[in-house]
């Protein structure tokens, strides 16, 4: 067997193991879904009237704010799901089974690749679930073509991949699961500081750079453009650039942490 197909086989074995964990103990993933769903309902039904008055120069209805909000909520869903990945990677590394894997003649990277593939799949499923809630309460895309949808799915997957590699690094660098959960919190906080809830223009001047120069804002603006037909501009390239940079950074960070000698 060539080394590539060996790697693929071991990675898919590891993926199956991780999916088995997720299926057997879905509470972690489902709990992480509560936050985006709650925020969605809270901002639409409780703050909705005030929030909608603030966008597009007033006069917008609640459904317009719903449309504005959903792309950001979907990105936040990904951030939240990857916190779970950081926790499960950290838990896993403290288990004897990973030491066993290290003494077996398997593809060395397969343990991490299995985690990443499992996490990306979970992110996509979470996005589908939260998206279904959004549709149920009235979210509709505007003039989105099949290509737009395809690109949207691609973007969401790319963001999932990038954030997952970062989360895996956070999980590997944390001494235990609790620490991993805390260290990975920025993945959920960053989208709160982006253009997810209000446009960057509506923020105080000193805060705008924080919202603007971070990965979530261009990704959210791109998704908005694809689903709602708003102006995308440079955001697409910025989003892709951010994702690739984060994925590569997370990959090498994780690899070097995993190759460290275990205690």
């Amino acid at each position: 067997m060539s080394s590539l197909s060996l790697a693929a086989r071991d990675a898919s074995t590891m993926l199956r193991r991780n999916l088995l964990h997720a299926r057997r103990y879905p509470s972690l993933t489902l709990n992480l879904l509560l936050t985006p769903v709650m925020l969605l309902l809270l901002f639409v039904y409780i703050f909705g009237d005030v929030m909608s008055a603030g966008i597009s120069g007033g006069g917008a209805g609640r459904s317009e704010y719903l449309a504005y909000l959903v792309p950001g909520i979907l990105m936040l869903t990904i951030g939240g799901t990857t916190i779970g990945s950081a926790v499960s990677v950290s838990t896993d590394m403290n288990e004897g089974i990973v030491a066993r894997f290290r003494t077996m003649a398997i593809h060395r990277g397969s343990v991490l690749i299995g985690h990443v593939a499992g996490s990306v799949l979970q992110c996509v499923m979470s996005v589908v679930l939260v998206g279904a809630v959004a549709v149920a309460i009235g979210f509709r895309s505007v003039d989105a073509t099949a290509l737009d949808w395809l690109l949207a799915v691609g973007l969401l997957t790319l963001v999932s991949l990038a954030l997952t590699w970062i989360a895996v690094g956070m999980g590997l660098s944390s001494p235990n699961a609790e620490a991993a959960g805390n260290n990975a919190l920025p993945l959920m906080i960053l989208p709160l500081l982006s253009s997810a809830f209000v446009p960057v223009d509506a923020m105080p001047g000193w805060f705008r750079p924080i919202a603007e120069y971070q990965p979530f804002t261009p990704a959210i603006e791109t998704l908005r453009g694809l689903l709602l037909g708003t102006e995308i501009g440079d955001n697409a390239w910025l989003a892709v650039g951010w994702c690739l940079a984060l994925a590569v950074l997370g990959y090498f960070w994780s690899r070097s942490l995993f190759d460290r000698e275990p205690k």
């Binding site: 088995l20 089974i97 030491a99 290290r102 000698e261």
Partner: protein, 333 residues
């Protein structure tokens, strides 16, 4: 220690059987703490080798190095004929490791753990299922196979751990303290498992802090102390290292015990059990001398036993541990 005594001579392999594990000058430190300070090993294929030592002697570190989990700072080693540093993947393909802390996935069932191993050894699906079922049966885990491994008892986890190790049919198995924390029944089960492995031609490298265990199982024993091998040989050879045994006198009458103790001031006292212990090899002369002394003191012991040295004596002599039971300490010093 001469290695001329071969525990399991093999007819066709000439004078020196091929080494399953050989190491020269292994060193390892963590920070400024030296854990291994130059370890040499030569373990013939098909034998059981026990690395015996107190906590912190470096047993686990040795296993970690030989199983490619960590790298040595210095020295070289071959496992199954492959060099640890240049061909770690070939070493991994030949070995199975059961660590001190069970290396099972607690979140999935015993059967799923076994199938995971089968997949990682690239067994075809049907063969994997067959091997998993067979091993589960062999280790008495068939009934628990569908339960999450986290719910298993300590002994069951250890058995599952070994069953998982065996999926790949390893030629060399490392068992790091396989019976630590197990109840006596599970310990005996584990011993039987080790014996069965060896009769199947597997080389077993085990670490233990129990002398009895090394004596029961191992063809050769190395005593590891403070990162160095203090002695190596068969159990018999090691016992010969400690001169003499001891004679034990037990009393039922406290008054007689006290009189005897004041007459035999060189004896080690155990006031709790009313026993006295004297160094001596149990020769006729030594015994007569002792009995004469008892007679002149006018006391009679309820029981007199002669002990030839056992591995405990060797162990304490070589490791000079601080928390040594009183009698052995006296025997040795």
């Amino acid at each position: 220690m001469p290695s001329s005594v071969m525990p399991t001579p093999r007819k066709n392999d000439g004078p020196r059987p091929p080494a399953a594990v050989s190491a020269l000058g292994l060193r390892k430190s963590y920070g400024d703490k030296t854990v291994l300070d130059g370890i040499d090993l030569h373990i013939p294929a098909g034998s059981v080798f026990a690395l015996l030592g107190p906590n912190g002697a470096g047993k686990t570190t040795t296993v970690k190095i030989l199983s490619t989990l960590v790298t040595a700072d210095a020295g070289q080693a071959q496992v199954a004929g492959h060099d640890l540093t240049t061909a770690p993947q070939a070493v991994r393909a030949a070995i199975g490791v059961t660590g001190q802390f069970s290396a099972v996935d607690g979140l999935i069932t015993g059967e799923e753990n076994m199938l995971l191993m089968a997949d990682l050894h690239h067994l075809p699906r049907r063969e994997g299922k067959r091997v998993a079922a067979e091993l589960l049966e062999r280790f008495g885990l068939t009934e628990a196979a569908k339960k999450p491994a986290a719910t298993y008892s300590g002994g069951m986890k250890r058995r599952l751990d070994i069953a998982m190790t065996l999926v790949g049919d390893p030629r060399i198995i490392f068992l790091d303290e396989p019976t630590t924390g197990l109840d006596p029944r599970s310990r005996h089960t584990m011993w039987q498992i080790v014996r069965d492995l060896v009769s199947g031609g597997v080389t077993v490298f085990l670490t233990t802090q129990y002398l009895e265990e090394a004596d029961e199982l191992a063809d050769r024993i190395a005593v590891l102390n403070d990162g160095r091998i203090a002695a190596e040989g068969t159990a018999e050879e090691l016992k010969r290292l400690v001169p003499g045994g001891h004679i034990r006198l037990r009393f039922t009458d406290p008054a007689a015990y006290r009189r005897a103790a004041s007459a035999l001031i060189d004896a080690a006292r155990d006031d709790e059990s009313l026993t006295l212990q004297l160094a001596g090899d149990g020769s006729q002369r030594a015994l007569r001398h002792l009995l004469d002394r008892l007679d002149s003191a006018g006391v009679e012991a309820s029981e007199l036993t002669v002990h030839t040295p056992d591995l405990d004596d060797v162990f304490f002599a070589l490791t000079g541990g601080a928390d040594v039971p009183a009698h052995s300490e006296e025997t040795v010093r």
